[in-house]
Symmetry: C2
Subunit: 201 residues, 2 copies
Amino acid sequence: MSKRVAGPEIERLIQLLAKVPGLGPRSARRAALHLIKKKEQLLAPLASAMSEAVEKVRVCSNCGNVDTADPCMICTDPSRDQSTIIVVEDVSDLWAMERATGLNALYHVLGGTLSPLDGIGPDQLTIRQLVDRIAAGEVKEVILAVNATVEGQTTAHYLTDQLAEFGVRVTRLAHGVPVGGELDYLDEGTLAAALKSRTVF
Amino acid sequence: MSKRVAGPEIERLIQLLAKVPGLGPRSARRAALHLIKKKEQLLAPLASAMSEAVEKVRVCSNCGNVDTADPCMICTDPSRDQSTIIVVEDVSDLWAMERATGLNALYHVLGGTLSPLDGIGPDQLTIRQLVDRIAAGEVKEVILAVNATVEGQTTAHYLTDQLAEFGVRVTRLAHGVPVGGELDYLDEGTLAAALKSRTVF
């Protein structure tokens, strides 16, 4: 706001809300006003949930997931298949995979992809920790669920090399037509990949 | 999330974020993850800003604005023109007017519009407080900056009647072509109003 219409506390709240992904300067104002109007029902609980998250949330030292426990809920879940690790770039990918799959496996969050130009080499990712987990011997399959981007695929190749000596099965997600997708709107690379990996009907 | 991938604290944070206007269930997850990653730079300051707002923000007993002081910054600002009150439906309208206008006036927030079918009569709005402010005698002009909706205009008519006895000048916002607007996309009512209120070029 160019002119101040409210105390600095409210303006600070708006400024901080504007940094939340999905909110811009305009919607941050709207959100702040809504929160202030629902002070007891929404603002107070949200403030305490955030304080609690600040205090309790940490990165799992085993897999890189974020949780209030370390090791995280997934790593310590005895019902999960301990012989399969799904490797993802980011925690958001872990959440997406977990929502989508019935695979009750373990995860490993890389923390990004290899990108030499940006100074991100193997040591900036959690590749060493992954190799250590595989070296421990219990894992039989590593599923590389990285993005289908150049960086993602480069990282997948590098990981495949690193894991070769351990004799684990290294797999990757299939390329193909997205469910519900229309062929007309798909790029040629995806169509070619889908055709190459066609399955018997 | 159908399956739990993180502790209840994180899921609660996501659920509460999803209730913020502008965020849905999916963007709330993304926002939560971003906040957790930027724990020190964003999550912690936001949590404390919210706690502070819960504690300090109140409705101005004079004009209905929200602020950390009561009476609010606007009501207590001696540089403002004490003879003009801009009447708005909601605090968000006050903020919008304040961003837009160079008018350094006072405000009065009605808290809605008259809507007999919804059980909202004059007593559910801050009309009595407005009348009291006018009766005090210092105000010379009341600008009705209510929405150009049926409810807004009904409320404007009612207010005009209520304020008639005090001899103040009651004005309303002009109807017309929005700045930057294209005639082709405008409704007939707006065009007719703009034509009727045409000004000398």
